[in-house]
């Protein structure tokens, strides 16, 4: 059985072995509740706070105390939208946000808050003037992601934040797809809140973080304890937080070389696929104006769902749209918002490389993609003649 090639790193990736080692003691002999009084608890708390500092350092947050650990990116986004929006204020998102932002915004809308969407260009970019045109005002919350998860566009978060602030609104950014492969700095971005997820940059699944600018008016979502200064009650999973901290430390140190390496791999895959397969179109911005690890390609005349399965049978693991839905392949809201023709949107697959992807994986993946696409196209030709 030939080796399977994993090109779905935007969905999740392997835990970095160094991260795994850092977590190990906190899952076994050093277990402890970080809220406990005894020494074991104090040790856990110290580890938790060290991890918090590491994550804070990754995003240039001055005070680690402004960072809340969460169960992941979805919860961080949910907390941000519910905790920072206000009754009477609008929730303004881009049309290409992750479902965890859009659905939270819709849930708020169903409770009577106004949800407005900022349109995007054909490259999934929010136009800089969109905030002004949307009539954002004081008390509103604007949420625009830093790196688009499906097509890898880099949103002009700084410009959006400045425009929103001029109009008295708060700004949140979902940086889940950025951390680890794109610079993330809360001061440079000028935002009031920012979401992260550990497993997108070499950390474990099940942990994320929300940074909130000190002084931002935040109302917690849950009641139930003083953990995380009352902003997110519940026992903090120390081992997961330690893993996130270590992953953040490594990501900060290694960012330039990772970004460089990923973009080389990505470019190589794009080149190889384009040279072997006809009828391929790139969705989203041309590199380098794009998240280093992300490719989104349409294959003329082939439904994404069927190609995804055929590729899996050939040993290439990719995704159609975002992976979060239950394996379903309805046309993604992102490609729709970009205004892609239906045929092109329905045939779009996402390939995302990661730190464990090797150049020879790319070449083999391109061969298998060619084989799958040709197999489908030739099979149909034969079927027609039969």
């Amino acid at each position: 059985m030939p080796q399977r090639i994993y090109l779905d790193h935007a969905a999740t990736g392997p835990v970095d072995p160094r991260v795994f080692e850092a977590m190990r003691p906190w899952l076994s002999e050093r277990f402890g509740n970080a809220a406990a009084v005894h020494r074991r608890g104090q040790e856990a708390r110290a580890a938790l706070e060290a991890a918090r500092a590491q994550v804070a350092a990754l995003i240039g947050a001055g005070d680690p105390a402004d960072l809340i650990f969460t169960s992941g990116g979805t919860e961080a986004n949910q907390l941000a939208l519910v905790g920072l929006s206000r009754p009477g204020g609008a929730v303004v998102t881009s049309a290409v946000e992750h479902a965890s932002v859009l659905e939270a915004a819709r849930a708020l809308a169903s409770l009577g808050r106004v949800h407005r969407q900022l349109p995007v260009t054909s490259l999934a970019l929010v136009p800089k003037e969109a905030v002004d045109e949307a009539g954002v005002g004081p008390g509103d919350l604007v949420s625009v992601m830093l790196v688009q998860n499906e097509v890898g566009s880099i949103e002009p978060v700084r410009a959006i934040a400045d425009a929103a602030h001029r109009r008295g609104a708060l700004v949140h950014t979902d940086a889940v797809q950025a951390a680890g492969s794109w610079p993330v700095d809360v001061a440079e971005l000028g935002v009031d809140a920012l979401s992260l997820s550990a497993h997108k940059f070499g950390g474990p699944q099940g942990v994320g973080a929300l940074w909130i600018r000190p002084g931002a008016p935040f109302a917690p979502l849950f009641a139930g304890g003083a953990h995380e200064r009352g902003r997110r009650p519940g026992t903090v999973p120390v081992a997961l937080a330690v893993g996130m901290g270590e992953a953040a430390r490594l990501a900060r140190i290694e960012l330039p070389e990772r970004a460089f390496r990923l973009s080389r791999l990505r470019d190589r895959l794009l080149r190889e696929v384009r040279s072997r397969v006809r009828g391929v179109e790139l969705n989203g911005p041309e590199p380098p104006e794009r998240s280093p690890g992300n490719l989104n390609l349409s294959f003329e005349g082939i439904a994404a769902g069927i190609l995804l399965v055929r590729l899996d049978l050939e040993g290439v693991e990719a995704s159609a749209g975002a992976a979060c839905a239950s394996g379903s392949t309805d046309v993604s809201h992102v490609l729709r918002a970009m205004g892609l023709p239906p045929g092109r949107a329905q045939s779009a697959l996402r390939f995302t490389v990661g730190t464990t992807t090797r150049p020879r994986d790319i070449d083999e993946a391109a061969r298998r993609i060619r084989r799958a696409v040709a197999g489908i196209r030739e099979g149909r030709g034969v079927a027609r003649e039969a």
Partner: protein, 371 residues
């Protein structure tokens, strides 16, 4: 050497589970596919009923595939299903007919769209858990009744394009239902003792929710006498006794459904020997001037009949009376145990009553009334 790849449609029930298991045992590379046919968050998709389409069914199919060590995927066929099954289902009820959605699903979704998908996945063969047999004795592909007469599903398969029979397999068609269950138990499949689905697979509960509202109708008898207000025609089917709520000397049966009118009569008024078909589909050469057997519902036995082709379809002359021949259902012809073909029952002559006959609409993929 690479094993031959087969796609097996897995509904989450015992039959398709065993079909997949038999193919695995025969040495194929089996890829299990479950169709998604409802919008992801609709009540139908969330329902954990015994039909073939909800989330629960997907989970069951996935667990069986895991147990068998085969790949399993869901494929979104909502559009094809809506167009080929649900829209005509609704339209037929509003036109006063009682559709058999399985016929269209098999014809246009499973053995067309899904078959094409199997080809796209590099599979030469598509298998399902249907109870029917396919063979190519004397060099021609034939569709035959299943070994188990109680479970035979060849009736709902008559619409298959004969050119694709060679690419289909019905592994459980060679077995009795008891043998299928025994096999499933022996394999430790969780679906072994799942009850057979009785209802329409995509309708958990009341079909009228799918069909939608229609204006109230009126009852009348065969003499043309008005018998008072009636629920909408979509609530009735020919041969129905329940839901009439009228006291007569003898029990009333629905003998005809016409625009805004439900014609009632006695049991004997349901018997006919002649009726009309449209939307014909033949697996074997068109059988004029041959004695065949005709079946007008999924279960029971056939009746000797002759078929006469007409400009719009065919006329069936049964040699003995058939009861409750229902417009919208299929009439399927058999030569021995081989399916010859069939069509949709569109007109059953009923003399008397009130209202005008339902004009047969063209059926097929869109099935919209009046097109």
């Amino acid at each position: 050497m690479r094993r031959e790849r087969v796609v097996c449609a897995m509904s989450g029930g015992v039959d398709s589970s065993v079909a997949a298991a038999l193919l695995v045992a025969a040495g194929y590379e089996v890829v299990g596919i479950t169709l998604e046919i409802w919008p992801a968050r609709s009540p139908e998709a969330m329902a954990h009923h015994n039909g073939c389409c909800g989330l629960g069914a997907v989970e069951d199919a996935r667990r069986v595939a895991e147990r068998l060590g085969i790949a399993h995927y869901t494929l979104n066929m909502r559009e094809a299903f809506q167009r080929a099954v649900i829209d005509p289902f609704r339209a037929e009820y509003h036109a006063g007919r009682t559709p058999n959605p399985c016929v269209n699903c098999n014809r246009f979704v499973k053995f067309d769209t899904l078959l094409a998908a199997a080809g796209d996945l590099g599979a030469s063969i598509l298998a399902t858990g249907h109870y029917a047999r396919i063979d190519d004795r004397d060099g021609r592909w034939r569709l035959r009744r299943a070994v188990d007469p109680r479970k035979d599903q060849s009736y709902v398969l008559y619409g298959i394009d004969p050119r694709v029979l060679g690419r289909l397999r019905f592994p459980v068609g060679e077995l009795t239902k008891d043998a299928v269950r025994a096999r499933a138990r022996a394999l430790g499949l969780l679906t072994a003792d799942k009850p057979d689905s009785q209802e329409i697979c995509f309708v958990p509960g009341d079909y009228r929710r799918i069909v939608g509202e229609a204006p109230p109708a009126r009852f009348c008898d065969l003499a043309g006498r008005d018998l008072g207000p009636a629920p909408p025609i979509t609530h009735f089917t020919v041969g129905q006794r329940r839901g009439i709520g009228l006291a007569g000397a003898r029990p009333y049966y629905v003998v005809a459904i016409r625009p805004g009118r439900i014609v009632l009569g006695g049991r004997e008024d349901l018997e006919v020997r002649r009726f009309e078909l449209d939307d014909l589909s033949w697996i074997e050469p068109v059988p004029e001037d041959r004695d065949l057997e005709v079946m007008v519902r999924a279960h029971g036995t056939g009746v000797p009949a002759r078929v006469e082709l007409t400009p719009t379809g065919a006329r069936v002359w049964a040699r003995s009376p058939l009861s409750a021949v229902t417009p919208g259902q299929a009439a399927v012809f058999y030569d021995g145990d081989a399916v010859v073909g069939g069509g949709r029952i569109v007109a059953v002559p009923v003399r008397g009553g009130c209202g005008s006959e339902v004009a047969p609409s063209r059926s097929g993929r869109t099935g919209s009334p009046g097109d």
